[in-house]
Assembly symmetry: C2
Homo-oligomer: 340 residues x 2
């Protein structure tokens, strides 16, 4: 973009000429595709298929840049993953920016380029968008909403409800826990922590696609974001006629993550991930799914971490490394604000 603005002005959200310039010289330039090029208030999508998945997420992470990603990568990956865990193939995204007056144009451009790259790699199109600018001090740099549409080929909607889960099914996660939350915490200036931690922020739909090809017995999937693994399994067990048993010694917690968790008093089981999916898979297919996951970089450390049990109905519980038992409740109260 020309030097006409180094920072975002209120006028960039006016709907007039400055908005028009920002759209054409930044968003349209980087996000370019056949549908976005219509430049209409609504994108038109042809032949969307018989069944769609539709999701939305807003991102308010602080700081906006952190080891392993930024708010833009988070927006794309978060939306892609929400669609993928519903069994859908992610196809079309919207992006809505709320920008603070005075935000640096170069930072915005860096985020937009990340989003464009991530969308391209993921094979999804950003087809419609919106930009609002609020006066200085009325938001924090930039917030991004991303909504998404995915296509369900196989009518696998039972994956959402977990209605086919049975005693003996295995619980799989595709790697270490807590990386995203602790990477963001470590990146907060005031904490002054230096640690070798990187967010696991990644699009998982290709890996999930491989797993679904390898087995028709995947009975539940959920990305373990805010609230972490603990909240996913506590929520899944709640009110159900089965229990969920997790083996602590099967959970992978990277050294840096463990270190900060101990320092700050967090339990990694509740710390947010942005590249982790929890799956419930029929026992006979667990090894097929593991093999499919491990073919992908995002799944190379996949592990079977527990199973569905007939006892402890309605509860998720952890068998600790020293052989104790602990009920895993949903995260109560605030743990980590603005982690995504």
């Amino acid at each position: 973009m020309k030097n006409q603005f180094d920072t975002i002005l209120l006028g960039h959200g006016s709907g007039g000429k400055l908005s028009h310039d920002l759209i054409s010289e930044l968003f349209a330039k980087h996000f370019d595709n056949d549908i976005l090029r219509q430049q209409s208030d609504s994108a038109i999508i042809e032949n969307p298929g018989n069944q769609l998945a539709f999701t939305t997420d807003s991102f308010v992470v602080d700081p906006i840049f952190f080891p392993g990603g930024d708010i833009g990568k988070l927006a794309i990956a978060g939306t892609v993953n929400d669609l993928a865990v519903s069994g859908a193939i992610p196809e079309y995204l919207s992006v809505g920016f709320i920008i603070e007056e005075g935000f640096g144009f170069k930072d915005l451009e860096r985020i937009v380029i990340t989003m464009a790259d991530e969308a391209k790699k993921a094979g999804v199109k950003i087809v419609t968008g919106d930009t609002k600018v609020v006066d200085r001090g009325k938001c924090d740099k930039v917030f991004i909403n991303s909504s998404g549409i995915g296509i369900l080929d196989k009518k696998d909607t039972h994956i959402i409800s977990g209605s086919r889960i049975k005693v003996g099914d295995q619980i799989i996660i595709n790697g270490s826990i807590g990386d995203h939350g602790m990477a963001v915490m470590a990146a907060r200036n005031e904490l002054n922590i230096t640690a070798d931690i990187s967010s696991d922020c990644a699009c998982l739909h290709k890996m999930i696609g491989s797993a679904m090809e390898a087995s028709s017995q995947i009975k539940f999937m959920r990305d373990a974001t805010r609230g972490g693994l603990g909240t996913v399994i506590a929520e899944l067990a709640k009110g159900k006629d089965f229990g969920i048993h997790i083996h602590e010694d099967q959970l992978i917690v990277n050294d840096g993550v463990r270190g900060i968790c101990e320092l700050l008093g967090f339990d990694p089981i509740y710390v947010a991930n942005e590249g982790k999916v929890v799956m419930v898979v029929a026992a006979e297919d667990a090894q097929h799914v593991m093999k499919a996951l491990k073919k992908h970089e995002t799944g190379k450390n996949a592990a079977i971490i527990g199973e569905i049990t007939g006892d402890h109905k309605g509860k998720a519980w952890l068998e600790t490394q020293v052989g104790g038992k602990r009920i895993i409740e949903m995260l109560s109260g605030q743990q980590l604000p603005r982690i995504c």
Copy 2:
């Protein structure tokens, strides 16, 4: 909701138990429908049709309550209207809340109830959502993103591009201009203006549906929101092989709106509307469309305000009440921040 919280806490955005309670006791309660009830990260939509419209908008209006509406009504109407002007029937909405820590629960509930009522009246379903909470001072009360999916029955995508517009076509708007922008301005405490002005914020899809039934010769539609009527017609004319001629004496500007505009130095042609659609219609069908619009409360003051001309190509221009001519440029710079 129980008295457990009078205000929104950071924990309501944690993804844990408080988030869960907020969803089940506020959002799920008021927005309830068969798809939302799946309580999944993605809503599943069956048989969506052959062609979809997909749109997104974020709302950051200040103040959040104003005569004629609030931020919630704006979110629903804005998204419904973006779909409707694409020729689509609005069907499914997502809502994403970004809430400031300490925001009053009663205010949030009031907004949610407005949204639920407006969606119900409009015949659209809120099928998926997201809530983030940011620390005090990091946003301004509440911001709402609403994305929407509409269904195109008639493959009327030419309406988006305006590709069939011809010299002689008539320009129609469904009533007075500038009401929304000036109602919001008047509601800002610091201005201390008392005026009898109300936002025109309304869902227009039923009125637009009637117009489309009355004529297959509607060649362009756009809701005249940020940037106002002026920006819509300047954008439409830009680079085209025709001009747009607007008759100032046909424009309706309510007295209160005119008064504040004069006081504050605004040109009503650039002031935001939230219930106005600009249409380009073949001359022979203009009266059919006018009749259809006037059947609706939102269109009772519809007027033919101008026409497509062979001269002044690429420009929109206003014939003033005293017979002068003025080129209508796109709004440049900031006029009214946070009007929607």
